[in-house]
């Protein structure tokens, strides 16, 4: 866009810009730069603190031991139980949410175009994006735990995360499917390929990398969710490898638990937990970025 290059004034013919206008322009420019700097302060501060304070407990014990029998003031103890829990819960919710979300997106783009139902679904997907995570947790509490009578488990947590993941993946997939050129679909129909095969073997593979990116970003987002997990998996300090039975740990709830303890050893563990969590999330984000980037270069 030509707007990026500063407008070169032509003072010789039209007269120069009056000082008042010039000053106003410069002031706004200064404010806009300032806005960016202001936004960088918390980001740098958070990352700096997480790294410097998280390094203190970054040892093997942290990744191989649980908090079982470790009191808040004790040194040692680790987040093994929490890491296991987070990985299992996020994996389960991915397995549930991704197929559902992709099918919904396929309905919205391939089957439901211009239908009223599709518009309604699309609207509520948007609304669902705005559901507070704690409400998703309360819903699973009300449905799964209080109505169906199951007890706290990692799986209940996965269900809550699924609700948070669904709309994000639907949106991402929908955007990607819309980008698939119609020529491809029509070429496939012209060869006599049924519609579902066209979708499965022509449309989806074309949009594949984009969908993977969307899924990874969604995974990264739900991985850091704490509130719904507090209500559904409860808190345990012991290792529980079975997500379907008994309370399970998770990294965010581990941080929450340790941070509420005033002892320095506990606070240190909380920071290392935060470092671990942020590292996983940033890696997922970076990987998603790389995939998008590679695709852009390839399509050029």
């Amino acid at each position: 866009m030509s707007a990026k290059t500063a407008p070169g004034p032509a003072p010789s013919l039209l007269g120069s810009i009056s000082p008042g206008r010039k000053i106003k322009d410069k002031v706004v420019q200064g404010l806009v730069y300032l806005a960016f700097v202001i936004a960088m302060i918390p980001l740098v501060s958070v990352l700096w603190m997480v790294i410097t304070r998280g390094v203190a407990r970054l040892d093997m014990t942290f990744f191989t031991k649980s908090m079982n029998g470790v009191a808040g003031r004790d040194a040692g103890g680790g987040a093994y139980h929490a890491i296991i829990g987070t990985l299992e819960q996020v994996a389960i919710s991915t397995v549930i949410a991704v197929p559902l979300a992709i099918l919904t997106a396929i309905y919205l783009v391939e089957y439901g175009r211009d239908k009223r139902l599709a518009r309604v679904i699309s609207f509520f997907v948007d609304v669902m994006t705005g559901i507070p995570s704690i409400v998703a947790g309360l819903f699973i509490l009300a449905l799964w735990l209080l109505t169906f009578g199951f007890s706290f488990s990692g799986f209940a947590g996965s269900l809550a995360l699924t609700i948070l993941m669904l709309p994000t993946v639907v949106r991402a997939t929908e955007e990607m499917l819309k980008l698939v050129p119609n020529d491809l679909r029509e070429a496939s129909y012209a060869l006599g390929v049924p519609r579902w095969r066209t979708v499965c073997f022509v449309v989806l593979p074309t949009a594949f990398t984009g969908i993977v990116t969307g899924v990874m970003l969604a995974v990264a987002r739900v991985m850091g969710e704490t509130a719904p997990l507090l209500l559904t998996i409860f808190v345990t300090k012991a290792i529980n490898n079975n997500p379907f039975e008994g309370p399970q740990g998770a990294l965010p709830t581990f941080i929450w638990d340790q941070a509420s303890d005033p002892n320095t050893n506990a606070i240190d563990r909380a920071w290392t937990g935060a470092l671990t969590l942020i590292a996983i999330i940033m890696l997922l984000n970076l990987a998603a970025r790389m995939i998008t980037r590679r695709r852009k270069i390839a399509s050029r």
């Binding site: 391939e110 129909y189 909380a270």
Partner: protein, 327 residues
């Protein structure tokens, strides 16, 4: 897209007899697949409906047992012998902290969006956008931890300063101000909603017709005048809906607020004072000790939060949708 595939495949079938069989499987597959896609779409709607239904259903017993007025009472004692609880203080804390966050975040976020779209060198723009998006990637629990151990101590001084010099404004008045206040919570919230507001504003700014921009520049407008005349009027509704979506995010934010606030009872307009509480923060903090009625009461408060965010989000989406029709 609109053509019936059956017709097309029958043309193919005349040339190859073997395709006859494949065509029929294709039809069955088509039906299964189409219904599967439709089914998951409908399931999504069902989940939305179920959220409302189950929250209401599980909230009713607690609301019936409630001895106080749920709407006006300020105390939250659902675990007491005759349970008494009201949403007034929590709703007040939620709304005021989110609005303060919105007021702080919106100008900065729009500034960032303008910076990335119109001021930053073009080659850096997408990288800078990614850096701002990183703010959104930091989990709320980490913001909570950061707020609790770092920001709270800094905000102590800020609160004293504001109270000393601007104490005549009722919002900043009161005595014994501190760091674990509604004000600090809203600063954390403002940081958390910055990326969503700025990324949506960026999308809107990217859609401003180049012709308008060039016309403004050709008339001799400075960069700021071009933005004021061409960009901001075009993006107004987009910016409004972006900040409303940010508001929705702030209203529902739980963990960071729960960690930063030191909870105290009672509605107070003095946002610099330690204490205050929000709906979401209260759920996180008091769930572990909640009795059966207590859980019901928390679900009832969650229902209120759900309704507030629903209204805000639907309003934002409606603005976006109306704008799409115009363009």
């Amino acid at each position: 897209m609109t053509s019936d595939t059956g017709v097309e495949s029958s043309v193919a079938a005349t040339s190859a007899g073997a395709a006859q069989r494949r065509m029929s499987t294709g039809r069955a597959g088509d039906k299964i697949f189409a219904n599967g896609a439709l089914g998951s779409g409908v399931l999504l709607l069902a989940i939305m409906a179920a959220i409302a239904v189950f929250l209401i259903w599980k909230a009713i017993p607690a609301l019936q047992a409630n001895e106080a007025n749920f709407v006006t009472d300020q105390e939250w004692n659902p675990n007491a012998a005759p349970p008494t609880f009201g949403i007034a203080q929590l709703a007040f804390g939620t709304v005021i902290s989110s609005f303060l966050a919105l007021i702080m975040a919106t100008p900065v976020a729009i500034g960032i969006a303008l910076f990335i779209t119109y001021y930053a060198p073009k080659r850096l723009a997408s990288g800078l956008g990614y850096i701002v998006d990183l703010l959104a990637a930091v989990p709320s629990i980490v913001y909570g931890l950061w707020g609790l151990t770092f920001l709270v101590t800094k905000m102590d001084d800020v609160a004293v300063f504001l109270n000393d010099y601007f104490g005549w404004i009722p919002l900043f008045g009161g005595d014994s101000v501190g760091g674990r206040s509604i004000f600090t919570a809203s600063v954390v919230l403002a940081i958390m909603i910055l990326p969503i507001i700025s990324s949506i504003s960026r999308e809107v700014f990217a859609q401003v017709p180049t012709a308008n921009i060039e016309a403004a520049l050709a008339l001799g407008a400075t960069r700021w005048e071009m933005i004021r005349m061409a960009v901001l009027p075009f993006g107004r509704s987009g910016m409004i809906s972006a900040s409303m979506l940010g508001l929705g995010r702030a209203l529902g934010e739980t963990i960071a607020v729960a960690m930063v606030l030191s909870t105290a009872a009672g509605i107070s307009i003095h946002v610099l004072k330690d204490g205050g509480n929000t709906i979401a923060g209260n759920i996180a903090n008091s769930f572990a000790e909640a009795s059966e009625t207590g859980r019901g009461a928390l679900i009832a408060s969650g229902l209120v939060l759900f309704l507030i965010t629903l209204i805000v989000n639907m309003g934002a989406r409606a603005i976006v949708a109306r704008r799409k029709e115009f363009v």
